[in-house]
């Protein structure tokens, strides 16, 4: 048969690896700053773009999309070319993909600290960047499918199935969750409101974990583990079942992020059932990965790459055992909103994604530079310090989560009142754990810096092979139809387009059954007559709440537990959120829930008048020295931008919020009236009057803080009467 000569493109793989390493260091460094902000809340005080609320989305996005994303593209571009025996479809598309993705990361790194955010977790980027992501993702898809079509290998190996599922599903998720109505160049509102927004967001959020952090890495596991161990995967049959059941079930599990919330119960329960089922394919995959090493465990003792892989797969097994457990409602009632979840995601990110990436990098770089790793010893050091870092990170967070949840729920022995009625008491208790976490994170990052050094030295001593020459037989042309005697699956497995369609069907079934009824069946969201749209000032205040990332630490969702109703007020109902574009339920309570913040008369909420909020934003430690709330002094200094208030209201009208034309026309006047009232309250305080009363250039009522106070004082007051 005719032999064909061509080159594998190693340069693109190398570029993605370098980008992954660079952004990995940055993303983890930002994470470390956040960990230290728990200990020293005013570490970055006065610098708005380094505040906790704005850095948190930067950390999550950098780690997920920049560190893990680039590592995944490196793994895909390397393994796909070899498994298909073809160079990537188009060098130009590869380049556009690489540079486009890095530009998006840079845009995120600039816009998130500046406060441009949609506030939807892992989808915080504003609409122009969302469009760029969609375009670059399509470029990646065309490049991938093109390569599959021009391949020189008949059969498509299972790793590539996982890559195809990644491409298809992430595209669907990204598009549907990012449907938003632009108000200005960098501001938009989610087209969904309240419960619907929450459901779509967590359908996205959960499946971003599934199809961005899991499926591509499973594909890489199915390629790199056999490759490094030099033996085929334990069971290829198992990998087929693993693939189909995983993608079929994963997509249903999203609502487990919303247990005990105002999401309809049937959707919650559906999410639980599928989350529990998910353990089967997940563990099937993990076992398949680990058993591939049967007979070569002696190699694991010496080979750093295999060590990284073993801990990565074990981490995957731990996280995917924990996931279904966390989905059980009684476990979730404890873990949700606490640091337990932080531990859970970090086992996944640090062990599964991080260690699989490191192992792959240590294996790939010497191969692509025709040399040996500069120091196997340093790689082993990295492995051990990284593993220790993971343990020191996650164990204290488990303890912290369990401890805090127990304190939240503890009633006094006589059964009357909460034992720890002041939320802060439950935070102060966690400080030793936050210290250990910061140390664990430092160790992990130290390991990565050792990797950087080791890789630089390796590259220096080697000579890069940017294009690797190969010679393989051409693929004989056969009928696109099924051959005589060819089994259906063999045929499907050589038809990429049909295969992709089947994958799409598998993931769409779950999505449609969950999301359509919540959006279409009206009775799922009972409306409450007393719930009215926000006033213009409150709407602006809400946008400040979004800009500052308050949602990163404060939930707005009172679950129907006695302990929560006692602490925060009546539990939240679906009908309360019908005007909330986007929803702001949050997923973590570093500070207390704010759903009923405006309601007065709760035992520990009696004193929170306008002056309290003003002072709290100015200097939280002045009110309670143990508070870990950072200062937000720029809100007090900066003037509120009212230039687009009316545009925002019109956008809301388009989305179904019933503002009248008169309300929109009178918006500025109404804002001024409401702000003046708050200003009067504030100036009644002698200290505030002394500092702010005399200034005329920008009266207090025009400052951002007033809008934020208006919003906070509104929370919960529609359904609970202000006393």
């Amino acid at each position: 048969m005719e032999k064909q000569q061509f080159y594998y493109d190693n340069k693109i793989v190398r570029n993605f690896i370098y980008a992954s390493i660079v952004f990995g260091v940055v993303g983890m460094l930002v994470g470390l700053i956040l960990a230290f902000l728990f200990l020293f809340p005013n570490l970055t005080s006065g610098v708005s773009f380094l505040s906790f609320g704005r850095l948190r989305p930067l950390h999550t996005n950098a780690v997920i999309f920049a560190f893990v994303g680039n590592a995944m593209f490196a793994g895909i571009y390397y393994s796909m070319q070899r498994l298909l025996k073809a160079r990537m479809f188009s060098d130009l598309l590869s380049k556009i993909h690489f540079w486009g993705w890095q530009l998006i990361i840079v845009a995120a790194a600039i816009s998130l600290p500046l406060g441009y955010t949609t506030s939807k977790e892992y989808a915080e980027l504003e609409w122009p960047i969302d469009i760029a992501i969609a375009l670059i993702w399509v470029v990646f898809g065309i490049n991938m499918i093109g390569t599959i079509i021009k391949r020189r290998e008949r059969h498509i190996y299972v790793a590539i199935w996982f890559y195809i599922a990644t491409f298809v599903t992430v595209a669907v998720l990204h598009i549907f969750n990012s449907l938003e109505l632009p108000v200005s160049a960098m501001k938009s509102y989610s087209v969904y409101a309240g419960v619907q927004d929450a459901l779509v967001q967590w359908w996205y959020g959960h499946n971003a974990v599934a199809f961005f952090l899991t499926t591509p890495f499973l594909g890489m596991m199915y390629y790199f583990v056999p490759k490094v161990a030099n033996r085929p995967v334990y069971s290829y049959r198992l990998s087929i079942i693993h693939f189909w059941s995983l993608i079929f079930i994963y997509i249903w599990a999203g609502p487990h992020h919303l247990l005990y919330t105002a999401l309809p119960d049937w959707a919650q329960n559906l999410g639980v059932v599928f989350s529990v089922m998910l353990i089967a394919p997940s563990w099937g995959g993990m076992i398949n990965g680990l058993l591939t090493l049967r007979g070569v465990w002696d190699k694991v003792r010496t080979d750093a790459v295999l060590k990284f892989f073993v801990v990565a797969i074990t981490g995957y097994g731990m996280a995917t055992f924990e996931g279904p457990m966390l989905s059980l409602k009684n476990v979730n009632a404890i873990a949700h909103f606490t640091d337990w979840i932080i531990a859970h995601v970090h086992v996944g990110a640090l062990a599964w994604n991080g260690f699989l990436s490191f192992g792959m990098i240590y294996w790939l770089i010497p191969r692509m530079t025709k040399t040996k790793l500069f120091s196997e010893k340093l790689a082993n050091f990295h492995f051990w310090i990284g593993t220790l870092g993971i343990i020191l990170y996650s164990l204290p967070m488990y303890v912290a989560g369990f401890l805090q949840a127990s304190m939240w729920k503890q009633f006094k022995p006589d059964g009357g009142a909460l034992q720890y009625g002041n939320f802060l008491e439950t935070v102060t208790e966690l400080m030793p754990m936050y210290w250990m976490r910061a140390i664990g994170g430092t160790l992990y990052l130290t390991g990565v810096i050792v990797l950087v050094y080791n890789i630089i030295r390796t590259v220096k001593q080697g000579s890069p092979v940017e294009n690797e020459l190969v010679e393989v037989p051409a693929l004989a042309v056969i009928s696109p139809n099924r051959l005589k005697g060819e089994k259906l699956h063999s045929w499907l497995e050589r038809k990429p387009v049909q295969f992709m369609l089947l994958t799409t069907v598998a993931i769409l079934i779950g999505g449609l059954i969950q999301i359509l009824p919540t959006i279409l069946v009206k009775s799922n969201i009972p409306t409450i007559a007393a719930v009215k749209p926000y006033t213009p000032l409150e709407l602006e205040g809400r946008d400040l709440y979004i800009r500052e990332g308050c949602v990163g630490c404060h939930s707005q969702m009172v679950r129907p537990f006695r302990s929560e109703v006692e602490r925060y007020g009546d539990y939240s109902k679906a009908g309360e959120f019908v005007y909330d574009h986007p929803f702001l339920w949050g997923s973590k309570r570093t500070g207390p829930d704010l759903a009923r913040e405006g309601v007065k008369g709760k035992p520990f909420n009696g004193g929170r008048d306008d002056v309290w909020h003003f002072n709290h934003m100015y200097d939280p430690q002045g009110l309670n020295e143990k508070s870990i709330m950072p200062r937000y002094q720029w809100l007090i200094k900066d003037e509120l931008d009212k230039s687009s208030t009316q545009d925002k209201m019109r956008a809301m009208v388009t989305l179904g919020v019933p503002y009248t034309e008169a309300e929109i026309n009178n918006a500025l006047k109404h804002m001024d009236e409401q702000a003046t009232k708050i200003e009067t309250n504030l100036l009644a305080n002698p200290d505030i009057k002394k500092s702010f009363g005399a200034q005329t250039a920008s009266p207090l009522k025009d400052r951002e803080i007033v809008a934020l106070i208006a919003y906070l004082q509104r929370l919960g007051t529609d359904t609970q009467v202000k006393k």
Binding site: S79, R82, L83, K85, E153, H155, Y157, A159, Y222, Y223, P226, K227, N230, R231, P232, V233, Y236, R237, L238, I240, I241, W244, S245, F248, P264, D265, W266, Q268, N269, L270, V470, K487, H489, S490, A506, I509, P517, V521, S523, N524
Partner: protein, 56 residues
């Protein structure tokens, strides 16, 4: 647990058929995956699973 599901779904016309459809879909799907995996011949499976090893 079922009472929570039932309550919210009752408003949908013809909802009785839902659990039957779901069960059918899943049962069929899993049978298909299994058949898919186990109708492969041993030799073919061996050949495919060795793909990552002979790709240089």
């Amino acid at each position: 647990m079922l009472k929570f599901i039932k309550h919210n779904l009752e408003t949908i016309a013809g909802v009785e058929i839902y659990p039957i459809i779901s069960l059918t879909i899943f049962f069929t799907a899993f049978v298909l995956f299994t058949v898919w995996a186990f109708t492969y011949s041993k030799e073919k499976i061996k050949e495919i699973s060795e793909m990552p090893l002979n790709d240089e």
